[in-house]
C-alpha cells in the first residue's frame, strides 16, 4: 500500500520486480481490479480471468521494464484490455455475450462524497444473504482478499476441490439468480452491513480460536486478513460506527495474539505477559473506541454489538496489570451488550466480571442459571469458579466436560493443566 508514495529506497525488491513483490502487489490490488472489472463487464468470471492474465503480463514485463509508477492502475488497465479482447473474440458466441450483460448496475453514479470504490459493491455481493454462509466467507476471501482457492481450502481445512466447487457454485448462483452488484439502499444498509461484518468476524474468529483439532491454535493469516478486510470496509463506510467497532475489537484482540499461546497452551487474559502485547495495535484500537464514544456522546445511535465488545477489550488493554482491571466498567458494558444482544454467552461473560466484583459464589449462581451445557466455555467458567470456592471434585468434572467439548489443542492443554493442579 505504501509503495505509491515511497521514496523508492525503502523497498528495493519492488523496483526489481521480483516475483514475490509482484505477487504481493497483485494480492493487494486484486479486490480492486476484480471489483472494477465486474462493474464494467458485469461478469465475475470475466473479471477474475482478466485479472489473472494481467498478473501473467506483469510477471513477464515488470522484471524486464521495472514496476510501473502506479502498479494497481497498470494491472487494472491491462486486465480491462484483456477482458475486452476476450469479449470481442467470443462475441459471436451469443451465450457469453449475454452472460456479460447479466450483472448490470442500475444505480446511478451519485457523487455522495464517499470514495467511489467498486469494492463496496463487491463485498455486498459476496456477503449476500441468499448465499450460504460458508460460501460468503469463501467468496469474500477469494474475490476481495485475493487469496487463492488452495489457500482458502487450507484455511478452512477442506479439500481444494470442495472449496473450488463451493466458490464456483456461489458464482453461478450470483449470475443465475441475478444477485445485484450494488450497495444496498439506505433502508437495507444497516442489516446488510451487519451481514458483511459477521463474515469478517467469522474469518477472524476461525483464525483466533480455531475450532479444529488439526489446525494450529492461532492462524495469523486469517486474523490479519480479517483486519485487512475491515480496514477496507472502514475506508469505504467511514460513517458506520459498527465498522469502526469491529475493526477496534479485532485490533485489540489481535494485539494479544503473541502471548496468548505459550508452550502449546492457551494463556488466559489474567495470566498473559502484558509487556508482550502489541502497543501499536492497542493504540489504534483505543483511538477507534474513543471515536465511537465521541460519536455516541454527540447524540449518535446507541453503540452496537461490536462497539461494546471493543469497549470491553479497551478496558482490559487499558489495565497495566490484571489486578488493575476496572471490573465494574466491564460488568456495566456487558449489561449494555446484553440489552443489545441478549444471549446466554453474553451473560456468561458478564458473570466472569461479577466474580471479580461480588465473588465466585454470586457469579456461580448466575452461571448455573444459563442453559449452556453444550458450550465448552460454560463448563470452563464453572470449573474456575468451583475451583476458587474449593469445590475440587465438582471443578474436576467441569474441566473434564469443557475438555470434551473443545477441539482446540491449546485450550485443551490449558484446561487439562488446571484440572491436574486441583487439590
Amino acid at each position: 500500500m505504501d509503495s505509491t508514495d515511497s521514496t523508492g529506497s525503502a523497498d528495493s525488491t519492488d523496483s526489481t520486480g521480483s516475483t514475490a513483490a509482484i505477487e504481493r502487489i497483485y494480492r493487494e490490488e486484486y479486490g480492486r481490479i476484480v471489483a472494477s472489472l465486474t462493474r464494467r463487464f458485469g461478469d465475475l468470471d470475466i473479471a477474475e480471468e482478466a485479472a489473472g492474465e494481467a498478473l501473467l503480463a506483469a510477471v513477464e514485463r515488470w522484471p524486464r521494464d521495472g514496476v510501473p509508477p502506479n502498479p494497481g492502475g497498470w494491472l487494472t488497465t491491462t486486465a480491462g484490455n484483456r477482458a475486452i479482447d476476450k469479449i470481442r473474440r467470443e462475441s459471436h458466441r451469443d451465450a457469453k455475450h449475454q452472460a456479460a450483460l447479466m450483472m448490470t448496475d442500475d444505480t446511478p453514479h451519485e457523487p455522495t462524497g464517499v470514495v467511489e470504490d467498486d469494492r463496496l459493491r463487491l463485498i455486498f455481493t459476496c456477503c449476500h444473504p441468499a448465499l450460504a454462509p460458508e460460501a460468503r466467507v469463501a467468496l469474500t476471501l477469494r474475490l476481495l482478499g485475493g487469496l487463492t482457492v488452495a489457500e482458502i481450502a487450507q484455511a478452512f481445512l477442506v479439500p481444494e476441490t470442495t472449496m473450488a466447487q463451493r466458490i464456483t457454485r456461489a458464482k453461478k448462483k450470483i449470475s443465475a439468480a441475478r444477485i445485484p452488484y450494488r450497495v444496498p439502499s439506505a433502508e437495507d444498509l444497516g442489516q446488510r452491513v451487519d451481514g458483511v461484518l459477521a463474515v469478517i468476524y467469522l474469518v477472524f474468529n476461525e483464525g483466533y480460536l480455531s475450532s479444529s483439532a488439526d489446525a494450529s491454535p492461532i492462524r495469523h493469516e486469517l486474523t490479519s486478513e480479517a483486519i485487512r478486510l475491515a480496514r477496507i470496509l472502514r475506508l469505504l463506510l467511514p460513517d458506520v460506527a459498527e465498522v469502526a467497532g469491529l475493526l477496534a475489537l479485532m485490533l485489540l484482540t489481535d494485539a494479544r495474539r503473541t502471548v496468548r499461546v505459550a508452550g502449546g497452551e492457551l494463556v488466559p487474559l489474567h495470566e498473559q505477559d502484558r509487556g508482550g502485547w502489541d502497543r501499536t495495535l492497542i493504540a489504534e484500537g483505543h483511538e477507534l473506541v474513543r471515536e465511537c464514544l465521541a460519536r455516541h456522546a454527540a447524540g449518535g445511535p446507541r453503540p452496537g454489538h461490536y462497539q461494546l465488545l471493543a469497549a470491553i477489550n479497551a478496558v482490559h488493554t487499558d489495565a497495566p496489570t490484571a489486578a488493575d482491571t476496572d471490573w465494574a466498567q466491564i460488568a456495566t458494558l456487558y449489561s449494555q451488550l446484553y440489552a443489545v444482544s441478549p444471549s446466554p454467552i453474553v451473560a456468561l461473560n458478564r458473570a466472569v466480571a461479577v466474580a471479580e466484583l461480588d465473588g465466585a459464589e454470586v457469579a456461580l449462581a448466575e452461571v448455573d442459571r444459563l442453559l449452556l451445557e453444550g458450550y465448552h466455555a460454560w463448563h470452563a467458567t464453572r470449573a474456575d469458579l468451583l475451583r476458587r470456592l474449593g469445590r475440587s471434585a465438582e471443578a474436576r468434572a467441569a474441566y473434564d466436560a469443557a475438555i470434551r467439548l473443545t477441539e482446540n489443542q491449546a485450550e485443551r492443554g490449558y484446561l487439562g493443566r488446571r484440572r491436574d493442579q486441583l487439590a
Partner: protein, 119 residues
C-alpha cells in the same frame, strides 16, 4: 375453464446442461408452445434455473430469514412449467402427453384451486 399447471420433472440425474445437445429439445418445446398458443390455451410457461440457484425466504417468524437453497434437500423438483387454461383434466393430460415428449421429461398435471367465492 380451469387453469392447470403442467410441471416438468427435474432430478439429480439430469445430465449437465449442454446447449448443443439440448437444441432438438428446445425446438420441440418451441413447437409445442406455439401449438398451445394457437389453440388459445397458453397462459404462461418457462424453464427454471437449476435447483441449486434457489433461495428460500421464511417470514413466518419475528423477522424474515433468507437462506440459500430450496425448502428441503430433494432429489426431485420442478424444472419448468406451463400454465394452461383448459376445460377439463382430459384436455390437460392430452397436452401433457405432447409436452412430455417435447421436453423429454416427466410432466405432472395439477389443477389450480378455484377462486374463492366472492364475499
Amino acid at each position: 375453464m380451469t387453469q392447470y399447471m403442467l410441471a416438468v420433472h427435474g432430478t439429480v440425474d439430469d445430465p449437465e446442461f449442454d446447449l448443443e445437445a439440448m437444441q432438438p429439445v428446445f425446438e420441440a418445446v418451441d413447437a409445442v408452445n406455439k401449438k398451445m398458443m394457437d389453440a388459445g390455451v397458453w397462459v404462461f410457461g418457462g424453464g427454471l434455473e437449476p435447483i441449486d440457484v434457489a433461495t428460500t425466504v421464511d417470514n413466518t417468524g419475528a423477522e424474515a430469514i433468507v437462506t440459500d437453497g430450496p425448502f428441503a434437500e430433494a432429489k426431485e423438483w420442478i424444472g419448468g412449467f406451463w400454465i394452461l387454461e383448459l376445460p377439463d383434466l382430459d384436455a390437460a393430460l392430452e397436452w401433457a402427453t405432447e409436452a412430455s415428449k417435447a421436453c423429454q421429461g416427466k410432466v405432472e398435471v395439477r389443477p389450480f384451486q378455484p377462486e374463492p367465492p366472492a364475499a
